[in-house]
């Protein structure tokens, strides 16, 4: 490759500095300055915005969000792994169709699909109407954590399935055959050979689900009835309603740190360092 072609990357380097690095620095700046003044000359530096956050009230918000994200990630994994496995063992002719059908819902607007769940889960929604027809009582399926988890699993399932599928489909089947030849039954083969080999994909999937789940604000707001604050809704509230950008920025920085921390923890398991490239 030509050394001169290195220059191709320079314009984007500039772009990144301006549109990726600078904004985050500005957010950080907001988080460490006080509300009293917005003039550059009279900035007051303070850690108050961070101190405010360590109130049990807001710590609860984080714990709640992480909890919910973990539950959603768990269900995505439990439901999604078999899907990835089944697709990867489908014969090639059908496989593309199945994959396409699986990805197709993602092409419909996310808000609309979430909103459609309200029709399904509502008190007079499809599920409850059906139960009522059978003479069974209604369940409160909407405006609670159940609805939020359903919404998250629904929206993020493909993000769990695709990385796992990618790794499974590239897996060397000879290893599985070898394991069978050596006398292992299906269960042992799965636990000792297939699953460990698919781990990079699982890690990718977990990251791809946990991140948006923890910071989500549309799903808790629409499906959760806004009964509790989550990090995402708190930030949106602070920025667009209360107008307290300083405190909002500190919450945003804290959220970023949480996500970066969880990613580095998870990446310890991913020796290959495939990262996001393992997705496609």
């Amino acid at each position: 490759m030509n050394k001169r072609q290195k220059f191709f990357a320079y314009p984007y380097g500039l772009w990144m500095t301006l549109f990726i690095l600078l904004p985050i620095l500005l957010v950080f700046l907001y988080s460490i300055t006080s509300k009293d003044t917005n003039q550059i000359k009279t900035l007051r530096f303070t850690l108050d915005n961070y101190r405010k956050f360590f109130d049990p009230l807001y710590i609860n918000v984080i714990i709640r969000s992480i909890n919910l994200a973990l539950i959603s990630t768990f269900f995505c994994l439990v439901i999604g792994y078999p899907v990835a496995y089944i697709i990867s063992t489908t014969n090639l002719k059908k496989r593309n169709t199945v994959l396409l059908l699986f990805i197709l819902p993602m092409w419909m607007n996310m808000l609309l699909r979430t909103y459609a769940w309200m029709t399904i889960l509502g008190n007079n929604g499809l599920i409850n109407s059906f139960l009522n027809m059978l003479g069974l009582p209604s369940f409160r399926l909407l405006y609670n954590n159940t609805a939020i988890v359903i919404g998250m699993v629904y929206n993020f399932l493909p993000f769990m399935v695709l990385p796992i599928y990618t790794v499974l489909s590239k897996m060397d089947m000879k290893l599985v055959e070898a394991s069978h030849d050596l006398g292992a039954d299906h269960k042992t083969t799965f636990l000792r050979v297939i699953f460990p080999l698919s781990l990079p994909g699982v890690i990718s999937g977990i990251i791809m689900v946990f991140m948006p789940a923890v910071s989500s604000f549309v799903i808790p707001r629409l499906l959760g009835g806004n009964r509790s604050l989550y990090i995402g809704t708190l930030i949106e509230n602070l920025f667009l309603v209360t107008g307290d950008w300083h405190f909002g920025s500190s919450v945003a920085i804290i959220m970023m740190l949480i996500i970066l921390a969880s990613m580095s923890i998870l990446n310890r398991f991913d020796v290959d360092k495939e990262g996001g490239a393992g997705l496609w």
């Binding site: 008190n123 009835g225 602070l238 107008g243 307290d244």
Partner: protein, 347 residues
Amino acid sequence: MKKLAIVLSIILIFTFLGTGCSNSNQDRVTINVLNYGEYIETDLLDEFEETYNIRVNYEIYPTPEDMYTRVNSGATEYDLIITSDYMIERLINQDFVLPLDFDNIPNYQFIDDDFRTLPYDPEGKYTVPYFWGTLGILYNTEVVEGTPDSWDLLWDEQYSGEILMMDSQRDSLGAALKKLGYSLNTTDESQLEEAKQLLIQQKPLVLAYVVDEVRDMMIGDEASIALLWSGEAVAAMGDNEKLNYYVPKEGSNIWVDAMFIPKTAKHKSEAEQFINFLTSKESTLANIDYVWYSTVHTEALEEVESFLFDNPGFNPSDETLDRTEMFRDLGDFLQTYYRIWTEVLAH
């Protein structure tokens, strides 16, 4: 190379389309209008554009606080804004509002006298009222026993999980304050703390904190009791006969939404033409037909359909109105309201 050329030309075409849309209208004036969601009959926008050859860029927002943040950041310029009383008061106090040239708004003569000089615009020189209403409770007569008349219904444990509150701080805090017998405009922090505790107590009973979704939910029997504005209530009652609305006896809020022109407006007289257009009897009636809120227009009120006219939600009695209070701008103290409300939600 050929593919690259094709791609580039497509991009160029779209760039022209995207920014060029405004180019093709260079000869037409465009006014930027900001309003609440679902608060206008959109056919009126088309009608105005055709009649006056002025383009309307129409944008919406969910709550006055959202609007304030957007507008205050200076990032967007509007020629006309429609919002609520206390928010207008705040903006007038911040010198953000231009006095209107009423020569351009002859239809102002139809505005009811009662609505011309309200606390937020005592000299009536900055605003033209749009719709008004009360804050009260909408309930399902088949689920709720008896004839409730108090704020207590929203805290009634018998109906746990059937209650809807609003994700709008002043309204929800206002309900709690009124239940405690305090003013909706209190600056006494201890009273606010009491209200906060009351709302936190209420939380387990509340199904959801929503704003616009309430109407649909009440129509669909998703919930049985809701804190709601009169206009929404009237609209819901139109679609579901089992519903009824009342303004609690402890007193409540009366609100007025009005139109004003911010100082960042680029086309003041065109904005005034739009105000005049909206204030005509025909426009008002068309608007009422879609929005279902109470009107300030004297002539329109007389021609409104009788089921609306007779509806106490649409047309409250003087006795009801006597026990209502209007929201006032609380200046910097609003921050305390915000903090209290965030703490209620975060629990």
